[in-house]
Amino acid sequence: MKKPIVLEQKCLRMGLEGLPSFFYLLLLLVAILSSRGQEIGVRSFVQQTVMGTQEGYAVSIDFGRIGVGAVMQSNSELLGESEDRKYPFVGVEVRFPLNVSDKLTLYASPKFGMVDQQFFVMIPEVQTEMRLNRIVTLVLGTGIRARQAAVSAGIKINPLNFRS
């Protein structure tokens, strides 16, 4: 009973308040993967927004033609311009393929989540994935954050590929 509390206290001391809930979501995703998932990917990205440059990461499961589900976290901890505003975002990303080819896939990928563990936001975004090889994928995105344009770039690694 005490262990989760200790973990949470440690995270709070480290300024990583969003991490426990992120891990819970990650566990949920792994459970889904074990039953139905085809491919799991880990993506690191940077996003230029009106709130400054945010860096983040996401863990995703690719269900093929159905789409992609991901949990993600981003903030301006390292690259942000404002000291007192990091806008930590923890949430989920649902990606629906709009156009698919061998190496390029265009997705509608809205994100839903909480900023600063208090403010619910929805971020509409379009992403293009360019598969460089079986493991590495380049991801470029453009979206709207706080009614202003936001662009992102990232690299996705697919360490677990359960596709036959």
């Binding site: 400054g52 156009n99 080819s101 390029l104 208090q118 403010f119 619910f120 936001v121 293009t128 470029l140």
Partner: protein, 202 residues
């Protein structure tokens, strides 16, 4: 040369489209480094005979809403009914956690009174409306506004100097905080086009 032509012609339409999209996104990414990507001020126009300055949907993403606003001569008006000259028009603010703005909200308001542009608070707290004078601002000059939300107060600050605190009793903590944009009224509608430039600070 022939081989490359053949390769190009073999591309399906969708693949060509996707590559174009990809190049467009690369271009967008590169242009993001330019300062010009973000407009410094957004101009809200309340058309003559209307109340709203348009319909914008945006959720607050911080405990503090900070913005700079510039009024011009279009903020000078004479109400048809002299009593309505006391009405406070809405500048900007937000509806509190998951609530309608007539239930719990905090906004800055303004009115033209005795040849001055007065700035007021405009708060709904559990359905009850409260307002308080904050200060005067000059036309055609940028002025800084801030609404900081604490557990039990909204702290309004004008130009980092004049401060007014209003009660907040909403106990909701997590949810959607819809931002509220310029609105004329009051009982009357805009007597002419009213322009307000606003820049939100992040």
């Amino acid at each position: 040369m022939t081989a490359s032509r053949t390769t190009f012609s073999n591309l399906t339409g969708s693949r060509l489209f996707l590559r174009s999209v990809f190049l467009f996104l690369v271009g967008m990414l590169m242009s993001s480094c330019e300062e010009g990507l973000i407009e410094p001020y957004e101009t809200f126009i309340i058309p003559e005979g209307k109340n709203y300055s348009g319909y914008a949907v945006q959720a607050l993403q911080s405990k503090e809403l900070r913005f700079t606003a510039i009024f011009d001569e279009s903020a000078i008006y004479q109400a048809k009914d002299p009593v309505n000259q006391f009405d406070i028009h809405k500048l900007m603010g937000f509806a509190d956690c998951n609530d309608h703005h007539h239930a719990n909200s905090a906004r800055f308001g303004w009115r033209w009174m005795e040849d001055k542009l007065e700035i007021h608070t405009y708060v709904y707290n559990n359905g009850e409306r409260y307002s308080e004078y904050v200060g005067d601002v000059n036309l055609n000059e940028p002025n800084e506004y801030s609404i900081l939300m604490t557990d039990d107060q909204y702290i309004f600050t004008l130009n980092n100097s004049q401060e007014v605190r209003m009660n907040r009793t909403n106990e909701c903590t997590n949810g959607v905080y819809f931002m509220l944009f310029p609105y004329y009224g009051g009982d009357e509608r805009a007597p002419h086009d009213i322009n307000i430039q606003i820049k939100i600070a992040y």
